[in-house]
């Protein structure tokens, strides 16, 4: 028996009553019996299928709740029950899930990227290039001979790579970007004048180009897009309806995660460049030399690694050294 206040259909007036849930009948304080089936219940309220409802005086009895729940609902109800053991289990499960999801996403990214046609990737690359070109790039001021030298080496490197159509190579001067090389999704590759000036030997520029070719061959930009949008999609669906977590907070976490991932892409590209340089008959130590020259000014301690898309200089040089030892 559940004792409480009864509301007739479409009425807000209360009548004292009892509900005999085993026999599915309501007994009013006047003594009248009304057969009634439960449609749903929540909190202390029971809603009947005819539009009437009953607010129980106390918490609804467990026996009643059990008969109304199916197996799944019963399982969830047990999960929701507060006990330290339960909470500990849930928190552990939560951490395990996040880790699994992270691993799955990393493995799923290359597979998903394979489904994206190369033509679309190139289109994205071109769009990106055009946008940055308008804002940050000026025509190159490097002498033509030097540029032609670099282009020859680049063609040579490309021949040994797995990239089918050779991505275009552009030279630009850029004050805002400084000494840098960029690989847009599917190409083109851009080298700045500042980079060429800093690396006085063209072979060192070639080493950087080998690194950029790796980004294109492995489709790292696309993988990055898939990982970031995948994590954001999952995160926003999970937390989207949850108040109290701001979107900025969420985006910051996802970005932090994406940065970590980008670091592993950089290391992979360094290793690839090392291989490619060897195949094309260059000294494999060029990659380390180029890095040394480019990152010369960055002291390792000052880098806030968590927020960086690139790993620390020492980490990259150590990894390259290990490769050189291996190949020797």
């Amino acid at each position: 028996m559940i004792r409480g206040k009864y509301f007739a259909p479409a009425s807000a007036v209360t009548i004292s009553a009892e509900y005999d849930w085993q026999n599915k009948q309501l007994i009013l304080s006047t003594g009248a019996y009304i057969p009634m089936c439960v449609e749903s219940f929540q909190g202390r309220q029971i809603f009947f299928d005819n539009g009437a409802s009953l607010v129980a005086d106390t918490v609804l009895p467990h026996e009643f709740i059990d008969t109304q729940h199916n197996k799944v609902q019963r399982g969830i109800a047990i999960m929701e029950l507060f006990s330290w053991r339960n909470i500990l289990f849930l928190v552990m499960a939560f951490i395990a899930l996040i880790l699994t999801l992270r691993i799955v996403l990393v493995y799923a990214a290359p597979i998903t990227v394979n489904l994206i046609p190369l033509s679309l990737e190139r289109e994205i690359g071109e769009l990106g290039y055009n946008r940055i070109n308008d804002m940050h790039f000026e025509p190159s001021r490097i002498e033509l001979d030097k540029r032609l030298d670099i282009i020859e080496m680049y063609k040579e490197l490309h021949r040994y790579s797995q990239v089918e159509t050779r991505p275009e190579l552009f030279f630009h001067s850029s004050e805002t970007i400084g000494a840098n090389a960029l690989a847009f999704p599917g190409g083109p590759i851009v080298v700045t004048d500042e980079l060429i000036q800093k690396l006085d030997k063209p072979e060192l520029v070639a080493a950087v180009l080998a690194h950029e070719l790796a980004h294109i061959e492995e489709r790292h930009s696309m993988q990055q897009i898939v990982i970031v949008s995948g994590s954001l999609a999952i995160a926003s669906v999970i937390f989207g309806a949850e108040e109290g977590i701001s979107e900025d907070f969420l985006a910051a976490i996802v970005n932090l995660y994406a940065f970590q991932h980008s670091q592993s892409f950089e290391l992979a590209s360094d290793a690839y460049a090392h291989q490619l340089l060897m195949k094309a008959g260059y000294s494999p130590s060029l990659m380390a030399e180029a890095l040394e020259a480019l990152l010369h000014e960055t002291s390792d301690k000052s880098e806030t690694l968590w927020f960086s898309t690139h790993p620390a200089k020492n980490e990259r040089l150590d990894a390259l050294e290990a490769l050189t030892l291996d190949s020797n």
Partner: protein, 348 residues
């Protein structure tokens, strides 16, 4: 700041605070289960999680001796969510690849938003029950268009001078079109109150802040050196002051509304919400959430609900025989899910 207390109606009972009976320990389990199941099901369960969460909060919010009921169907929410997410993805694709179509879609969306807002308000009213009766919202498309699309533009064009008009209109629209058991809810809001509050809470603090910024910059320039750090502190200071002003403004709006709200002649609302106290609760909640990597969310939500309920009072006529329910027909949740995803907050 204390607004004039509304005339207490003697025919109604004594003012009684609302009550929130939820417990952090209870809600923590629900919240964590929701999170976990949402992740396992790649977000599908989040629709059920939303129902579970809101049901918990509605069921523990008491007005007089009765709690509210929440009646949304998870499947309905899931469908709405899928449609909204699909539309947003299409919009993003259009934005990157087909700028012409995108412009066209944005224009359509501009005219569709008032309709979606109405849908959302209708949905939220319909799924809320109190004493066995559901709430009802009957909005008007063009009124919503004026309130939610035109007024914000006019506010910007008037350099903020029309902001109180826009805010008053928005609150008025949301509350004055609500009804319960055949009786209308009314919020007797006046432009004067909103302008006075705007002056006190927004205009004066901003003027004071600008003055302070002017003085500090002048001192900085005289001192030479240390300018970078000074600028850094200044920018952060300005940012946080504006954030504080915004939150306090929202709280003050809430206070105005809950002092003016009544249900025909049957129920009157009043409140004793303190802006500084609520600000403190919101701010400390945020700090706790950040420092516990989110684990304090259930505690924070329960704490906020408890404070609000404890400080909103109602005077009620004990006779509910005049309230009559109406037949319910199914209602789409698309508008509600859209509002959810776009972070639209509509009162309550």
């Amino acid at each position: 700041m204390q607004e004039p207390h509304p005339q207490l109606d003697q025919s109604l009972g004594k003012p009684r605070p609302m009550r929130f009976s939820g417990l952090t320990s209870e809600y923590f389990g629900i919240w964590l289960s929701n999170l976990l199941l949402s992740i396992i099901t790649l977000g599908i369960y989040s629709a059920w999680a939303k129902v579970r969460r809101l049901q918990y909060f509605y069921n523990h919010t008491y007005l007089d001796d009765y709690a509210f009921g929440y009646h949304a169907e998870a499947i309905q929410i899931l469908k709405g969510r899928v449609i909204v997410v699909g539309t947003l993805i299409l919009l993003n694709i259009a934005a990157s690849f087909f700028p012409v179509i995108y412009t066209f879609l944005i224009i359509i969306l501009f005219f569709a938003i008032p309709y979606l807002i109405n849908l959302s308000l209708e949905f939220n009213a319909k799924i809320t029950s109190y004493r066995n009766l559901r709430f009802k919202f009957s909005g008007d498309y063009w009124e919503a268009f004026l309130t939610f699309q035109i007024m914000p533009i006019l506010t910007v064009l008037s350099l903020g001078l029309l902001a109180p008009v826009a805010v008053k209109k928005a609150f008025g629209y949301v509350y004055n079109n609500l009804s319960y058991g055949g009786k209308h809810l009314t919020a007797d809001l006046t432009y004067t109150l909103f302008y006075l509050m705007f002056l006190k809470v927004v205009v004066l603090p901003i003027l004071a802040m600008l003055g302070l910024v002017y003085i500090t910059t002048a001192i900085q320039l005289n001192l030479d050196g240390g300018i970078e750090l000074g600028m850094f502190i200044l920018v952060f200071g300005v940012y946080f002051t504006i954030l504080f002003i915004f939150v306090i403004y929202r709280i003050c709006c809430l206070r105005l509304v809950f002092n003016a709200l009544r249900l025909d002649s049957y129920m009157r609302f009043s409140n004793t919400i303190s802006s500084t106290r609520l600000l403190w609760i919101l701010f400390s909640n945020l700090v706790a959430i950040v420092f516990t990597v989110g684990l304090a969310i259930p505690w924070a939500q329960v704490r906020k609900s408890r404070y609000l309920c404890d400080n909103i009072q109602t005077q009620t006529n004990p006779d509910f025989s005049d309230f009559i329910g109406t037949a319910q027909k199914a209602q789409s949740s698309i508008g509600e899910e859209f509002a959810d995803f776009e972070g639209v907050e509509l009162g309550l």
